[in-house]
Symmetry: C2
Subunit: 333 residues, 2 copies
């Protein structure tokens, strides 16, 4: 199999490191890897392929000969450098929010809308938000079978979605809290140890950015602007692994038995037995989306309740991006 030159932009971040380790773990055919980051991180060494690779400073010349560029360095970096990488001939898969709502950029969850990735006039494919990805993977089989009109979702999001520094801060703050000491938070806007909060920027109508991403990205991925999504996003003191409580209203009645049958054979889904439940701690380190606690909803007639957990750094970010690349670059090889 032909091997590819792969750039990872934001290689020292929580998602970037996960991308590097997934390239190894999934035996992605890499000829050489180009880890890119800000100038401050240049020169750092990261383990890869049994050896080490040196982080280089991202610049206009970084993408020469690169065939796949995986971006996870924030929206402003992506806005500037995704077009540079695409111009250099790379397939670009961007994990930031920069291009997600661009009509010329497909927004892709392979289990749901891989076909959209075939048309990419800018050479860029956007990876959805972590919370959106796991919801789409869990609900897509139900949508295909019965249609979806409304979704009510409340999230229980891990701190890893805020980056490696957030993980460190929750650990340190938890230790201090257990010793009865104060912690001066730097990454979180307020206390995160043994607390619950929404720590995203306010956006519109009282909703925060994360919540509006769940609304807009869901509609774009499914190509259905009529779907109504009611989102409340919250951060919980979990290191890694997002959980979601979802009520979904379908356009025709779906029984719990039918939903379980649909999900038991769905791609990328692990259906939990009825006496088990999806747990973020168990989902952490796994590539699948765990679905369980499926119940007939008590408030809407064609409603189902379910709980969904997934590793937000893997399926919610790095795994989804690499799966897109695998489908597009390796299927033909």
């Amino acid at each position: 199999m032909r091997r590819l030159r792969v750039a990872v932009v934001g290689a020292t971040g929580a998602v970037g490191r996960q991308m590097l380790s997934l390239l190894e773990e999934r035996r992605f055919p890499v000829s050489d890897v180009v880890p890119l980051a800000s100038a401050q991180s240049a020169g750092k060494r990261l383990s890869f392929g049994g050896g080490e690779v040196e982080v280089r400073a991202l610049g206009p010349g970084s993408f020469e000969g690169v065939e796949l560029a995986l971006f996870s360095a924030g929206a402003s970096v992506s806005r500037e450098f995704c077009p540079v990488a695409a111009q250099a001939g790379a397939l670009v898969v961007d994990n930031s929010s920069a291009w997600r709502m661009d009509p010329q950029v497909p927004l892709v969850v392979p289990e749901a809308n891989l076909a959209a990735a075939r048309t990419r006039p800018k050479g860029i494919i956007a990876n959805p938000n972590c919370s959106t990805i796991q919801m789409i993977v869990a609900l897509d089989p139900i949508r295909r079978a019965a249609g979806i009109s409304r979704i009510f979702v409340s999230t229980y999001q891990a701190v890893s979605g805020k980056g490696a520094r957030a993980i460190d801060e929750l650990r340190v703050a938890s230790e201090r809290s257990l010793r009865g000491e104060e912690h001066a938070y730097q990454v979180f806007p307020g206390p995160m140890a043994f607390n619950v909060q929404a720590d995203w920027k306010p956006a519109e109508g009282g909703y925060n950015e994360e919540e509006l991403k769940m609304v807009n990205e869901t509609r774009k991925i499914w190509g259905d602007p009529s779907i109504r999504v009611s989102p409340t996003t919250m951060r919980v003191p979990v290191l890694n692994g997002h959980t979601e409580s979802i009520v979904v209203e379908t356009t025709r009645k779906v029984t719990v038995a039918e939903a379980r049958r649909l999900l038991s054979s769905a791609p990328g889904v692990v259906l939990c037995d009825e006496d088990r439940q999806p747990l973020p701690l168990a989902a952490s380190g796994r590539d699948e989306v765990f679905v369980g606690r499926i119940r007939e909803d008590l408030a809407v007639d064609n409603g189902l309740c379910l709980v969904v957990a997934a590793d937000n750094l893997r399926k919610g970010a790095a795994t989804n991006a690499i799966q897109i690349a695998e489908k597009l670059l390796l299927a033909a090889a």
Copy 2:
């Protein structure tokens, strides 16, 4: 003011201790306190009123001369001993689930349905479940103004609701987890440190006991069996303070401005400024219910989203019970 002989059943538990400290804090006119618990706890000394009181073993003769009996020792103890205390002439306020759905026992949140407490053929008043109480306090002003047809609620519940041993276990398990060590859980059915789970007993239709309490108690308190409640209850690694993400559908449109106006003057409610949010860590130690993040819902036409946080040991249990007693016993004094 006449002083009352007050029994606290389950005095060594998390809620029982909270009841004792609230009797002091609220200067409840106690002549003497009778702390009751199981035979194993008898002889333990608890601080009260600047001195100490000795825990006695609960028995048929425990309630002689008792005018107020506050129960929080589990449903089986309440089933046996609430009638004994009532027979002895005490006003009984029971925090367990034993009597909540008994048609001859009023289920009371003072802010919402104090009048129901006046008719108590068994001499027993039931205190609702913690998750129900804070939801009722937050939504009652909206219901009075506009009626409520549906509620979708996802909870983020603290471990203190499971008792004092659960608080200890989360602390120890968190310390061990941060050191990379395993913990053999005894109170929780599975890992709780840095995890999310529903740890209540399965009840019916995939719902657990806690979820069905929220459905049935809400209908009873508001005297409206037509209200549809969709509950998902989850435990998060928070020591004390429950949070809830709620979508409420009203029978007529309520704007965010109207909801904020209604809640700003509502009894027992602290309305958070628009740039703040209810936090369980901040609600812990407080008697009010914190309400915020009020948004026009995006999935139902007459819908509002809100986030609610309260101290589950205080307003969710001990405070609510003592407020009932204050209203019934002291108002006339």
